[in-house]
C-alpha cells in the first residue's frame, strides 16, 4: 500500500506506514541539453516505482528539489544549499516522521552511478552524515540512505556503453530523460571527459574541469538505455532497502553494553 501527499492525515494515521521514503534531488546546470531540474524529474518516477514495489506500507514524501550544488555556483538556474543546511533539512524531515511513529526511513539520495560505492554518496554528500546522526540520536529509528544507480552499478555497466565515464549530465542522465520526457532534452549534448580525477571536484568549481557543464558522454544516450537503467535501479533499490532493514532488525536485538 502506498500513501503520499495526496492522502489525508487520517488515511496516513490509519495505514500506519512501515517505511517512509524521502528522495533528495538537486536543481543545477546540466549542460546545454538537460533541464536544471532533471534529477528531481528522474527521482519522482524512480522513488514512486520503488515505493510501489516494496511489500510494506510506504509513505512516499515529495522529492526535496534542492541539494548540494555549490560546484555549479553562479550558473543560471542553479540553487545551492550549504551542506549544513541540507543536513538540517534531512534531519528535520525524518525527525517529524519519527514523532508520528514511523520507525523506518529510506532516503533515496540523488542518482549515484557505476564506480561509486555504498559508502560514499556522489551527490548530496552530507546526506550520509545526516542519516548517521539521526540513527545515533533517535534509538527507535532505523534510517538508511541509498543511491539507486550505485546499487545498480553492475547492471548499469552492461546497459550503458561508457558507464565508468559517466559523472554529470552524461550518458545516464540523458538516457533517463530521453525515456521519461524526451521533449525536455535539447539536442544531444556535448561529450567531455576531463583529465583530472573526481577528487578535483572538492578543489575547483565544476566549469574549471568541464567548461560545457558535462562530464561524460551524452551523445551515447538513448531512450532504451534509460528505460533499462531505470528498471534496474528500481529493482536494486528495493532489494537494498529490504535487505538493509532486515539486517538491522536482527542486529539491533543484540545487547552489548
Amino acid at each position: 500500500m502506498l500513501l503520499d501527499y495526496q492522502n489525508t492525515t487520517f488515511e496516513v494515521r490509519d495505514a500506519k506506514p512501515d517505511i517512509a521514503i524521502l528522495p533528495i534531488g538537486a536543481t543545477e546546470q546540466c549542460g546545454d541539453h538537460l533541464p536544471v531540474g532533471n534529477m528531481n524529474m528522474i527521482l519522482d518516477v524512480l522513488a514512486r516505482r520503488v515505493a510501489e514495489r516494496l511489500k510494506d506500507t510506504v509513505y512516499l514524501l515529495p522529492t526535496m528539489p534542492l541539494g548540494s550544488s555549490g560546484l555549479h555556483w553562479g550558473k543560471p538556474g542553479t540553487i545551492a544549499l550549504e551542506w549544513s543546511t541540507l543536513m538540517q533539512v534531512v534531519y528535520d524531515v525524518v525527525e517529524s516522521l519519527v514523532t508520528q511513529g514511523v520507525r523506518r526511513v529510506a532516503v533515496i539520495n540523488g542518482l549515484g552511478g557505476t564506480n561509486e560505492t555504498t559508502v560514499r554518496p556522489r551527490e548530496n554528500y552530507i546526506v550520509k552524515t545526516a542519516v548517521r546522526q539521526l540513527n545515533y540520536d533517535l534509538s527507535e529509528l532505523d534510517a538508511i540512505w541509498v543511491q539507486p544507480f550505485t546499487v545498480a552499478g553492475k547492471d548499469l555497466a552492461q546497459i550503458l556503453d561508457a558507464a565508468e565515464q559517466d559523472v554529470h549530465a552524461g550518458e545516464l542522465a540523458t538516457s533517463l530523460m530521453l525515456y521519461l520526457d524526451a521533449d525536455a532534452v535539447k539536442g544531444k549534448g556535448v561529450d567531455h571527459l576531463p583529465q583530472a580525477g573526481k577528487e578535483y571536484l572538492d578543489y575547483v568549481a565544476f566549469d574549471k574541469l568541464c567548461p560545457g557543464g558535462v562530464w561524460g558522454r551524452p551523445s551515447l544516450a538513448s531512450a532504451e538505455k534509460g528505460e533499462q537503467a531505470l528498471e534496474a535501479a528500481v529493482q536494486r533499490t528495493v532489494e537494498y532497502i529490504e535487505e538493509s532493514f532486515a539486517h538491522l532488525a536482527t542486529m539491533k536485538r543484540r545487547t552489548y553494553y
Partner: protein, 243 residues
C-alpha cells in the same frame, strides 16, 4: 619543517608554504588497541608528511566524529557541525597569516563532514587551496604489504601501524571479525550492534614490520600526491582549461 615547538617569529621567518593538520580521534579500538590509536597514528603520520613537504605542522586534533563508538567506554566525540567548525576556524587562522596551501590528513574513517567543509572552503576562498588525500588505489608495482587489506576498524592495517609506532601499548590477544554487511552500516547502527568486540577486519595479521612498510609507503604517496595536486589545482584555478 616547523611545528608547535617553534616560536611565532621562527614561523614568520621560515615562511613555510604548506601547513599540515591532522584530525585524530579518541575511541574504542577493540580489545587490543588503545583508545588514542587514531590520534597517535595521525600525529605520527602528519609529522612524517610535514617533514617531506618542509611544511608547518599544526598539532593534530585529538577528537572527531566517533559517535558510532559512543556507548563504548572512553570514547569521546564531536558532532559533525563541531568538527567542521574546528577545521574551518583552524584553516582560516592559517589563511589570515598568509598560508595559501593547507593539507588536512584524516586519521579517522568516520569524519565524513570533512570533505563537505573542505569543498566549501575551496569554493569560498579562491586564494586558498585545502586538500585532503584520498584513499589511494593501488598502482602497478606497489608492494603488497598487508595480507587482508587495510580493513575497517582496529584491523590489520591499524594494528600494524600501532605495533610500529606504539608497540608497548598493543595487547597480544586479538579478535578477528568480518561483519556480513557493507561499511555503510556504520551509518545505521552503533558498532557494537555490528561487531560485538568493536573490531571490523583481521587484526591478528598485523605486525610491526608491515606497519613500518605501510607507513613509509603512505607518507611517500601522500607527499607526492599533495605536491602534484597543489600545482594542478593552481593551474586549473588560473583558468587554463584542459585540452
Amino acid at each position: 619543517m616547523l611545528d608547535a615547538r617553534n616560536t611565532s617569529k621562527e614561523i614568520a621567518e621560515g615562511r613555510p608554504e604548506i601547513a599540515v593538520f591532522g584530525v585524530g580521534a579518541v575511541e574504542q579500538h577493540s580489545i587490543h588497541l588503545p583508545l588514542g590509536t587514531d590520534w597517535l597514528g595521525v600525529s605520527d603520520l602528519t609529522r612524517r608528511v610535514a617533514r617531506e613537504l618542509d611544511a608547518f605542522l599544526v598539532p593534530a586534533l585529538p577528537f572527531s566524529m566517533s559517535e558510532c563508538h559512543g556507548p563504548m567506554a572512553g570514547t569521546v566525540w564531536l558532532k559533525p557541525e563541531t568538527l567542521a567548525a574546528v577545521v574551518r576556524d583552524t584553516v582560516l587562522a592559517l589563511h589570515a597569516q598568509g598560508f595559501r596551501k593547507v593539507l588536512i590528513v584524516n586519521g579517522h574513517g568516520g569524519n565524513f563532514v570533512l570533505e563537505a567543509e573542505i569543498r566549501r572552503l575551496n569554493l569560498n576562498y579562491p586564494d586558498l587551496i585545502v586538500l585532503m588525500p584520498p584513499s589511494f588505489a593501488p598502482r602497478p608495482g606497489d608492494p603488497k604489504i598487508l595480507d587482508k587489506g587495510v580493513g575497517i576498524h582496529a584491523s590489520e592495517g591499524e594494528t600494524a601501524r600501532q605495533l610500529y609506532i606504539n608497540g608497548e601499548h598493543v595487547k597480544d590477544k586479538r579478535i578477528d571479525y568480518q561483519p556480513p554487511v557493507g561499511r555503510e552500516f556504520l551509518d545505521y547502527a552503533f558498532i557494537g550492534f555490528i561487531s560485538e568486540w568493536g573490531v571490523w577486519g583481521y587484526p591478528s595479521y598485523g605486525t610491526a614490520e608491515k606497519g613500518e612498510k605501510a607507513t613509509t609507503h603512505r607518507v611517500a604517496r601522500i607527499a607526492e600526491w599533495a605536491r602534484e595536486t597543489f600545482s594542478q589545482v593552481e593551474v586549473l584555478r588560473a583558468g587554463e582549461e584542459e585540452a
